[in-house]
Symmetry: C2
Subunit: 132 residues, 2 copies
DNA sequence: TGTAAGCTTAGAATCATTCCAATTCTAATT
DNA sequence: AATTAGAATTGGAATGATTCTAAGCTTACA
């Protein structure tokens, strides 16, 4: 499987980790994924999960997300999006673009700076928590 | 000292941590700050540095920044800005707004979502590294 | 089928941070 | 100035997340 230039050998474990992440919308952590993979592959080790996540990430099939300190989260949504993080319940949701967005229009970066990617984390209170 | 609603008792250690951060533009980590404070207060412990950073953060005098996994960085720039992170040399620089920016205009957040803050991290290659 | 390369494992090691219990300091009150 | 309660500070232990290591296992293909 090749994408964005890098290749990964899709071993059964890597495929499972990828499939589990692709069917999750909750931005699970490595241990969340470990727990879910164990249901299908009881013998898998946490080290393997970390290893799979690393290979999938560097192949560009998934993305690692850092919203706060503590565990990294992972995300298989490769469409352009940002993360909304509810500070009350901890939920993370993807928000997709409503309009064209070019960061260099909004912030003065020094001349010659090259942008490869941008991470936007919006923190606040989700709908459900706001209602309470 | 009070700002944004919270108070901190500005003990000598807290003042030093704050002053060191306020005069730094490199977004130092807790251990960077520890090393710098030791020059003035040789007896200070790392636990105290962490404690000072936590109090200053919750009083709103400084901000904690998470750009990657690993150590948190700290920033005393309270003006609206985003962080540019050079993936080659690791340098972090502040970029200030060139234009008015309202996140809710650019991304479709569910109705009822309340935004309290937004963290933007732009990753790429800085001017000096691009030139090489 | 032999073999090198890459995958997986359990457990150890590391790193960053937080916790803890003891001590010291501060500031307000006698 | 002494008393005292509440904070601040300390060193070290504990924790949590991740990475490393060394050994065994698989796979593709020569």
């Amino acid at each position: 499987m090749a994408l964005l230039g890098a290749d990964v050998r899709l071993t059964p474990h890597r495929r499972e980790v990828f499939e589990i992440l692709a069917s999750s919308t909750d931005h699970p952590t490595a241990t969340d994924i470990f727990d879910r993979v164990k249901a299908r592959s009881p013998g898998i080790s946490l080290a393997t999960v970390y290893n799979c996540l690393e290979h999938l990430t560097s192949a560009g099939l998934i993305k690692q997300v850092h919203l706060e300190r503590g565990q990294s989260r992972y995300c298989a949504n490769l469409h352009e999006h940002v993360h909304f993080h509810c500070e009350t319940c901890g939920k993370v949701i993807d928000a997709h673009p409503a309009a064209e967005f070019d960061p260099s229009k909004f912030w003065n970066l020094p001349k010659g700076t090259k942008i490869t990617r941008m991470d936007v984390a919006i923190h606040g209170t989700c709908e459900a928590c706001s209602a309470r």
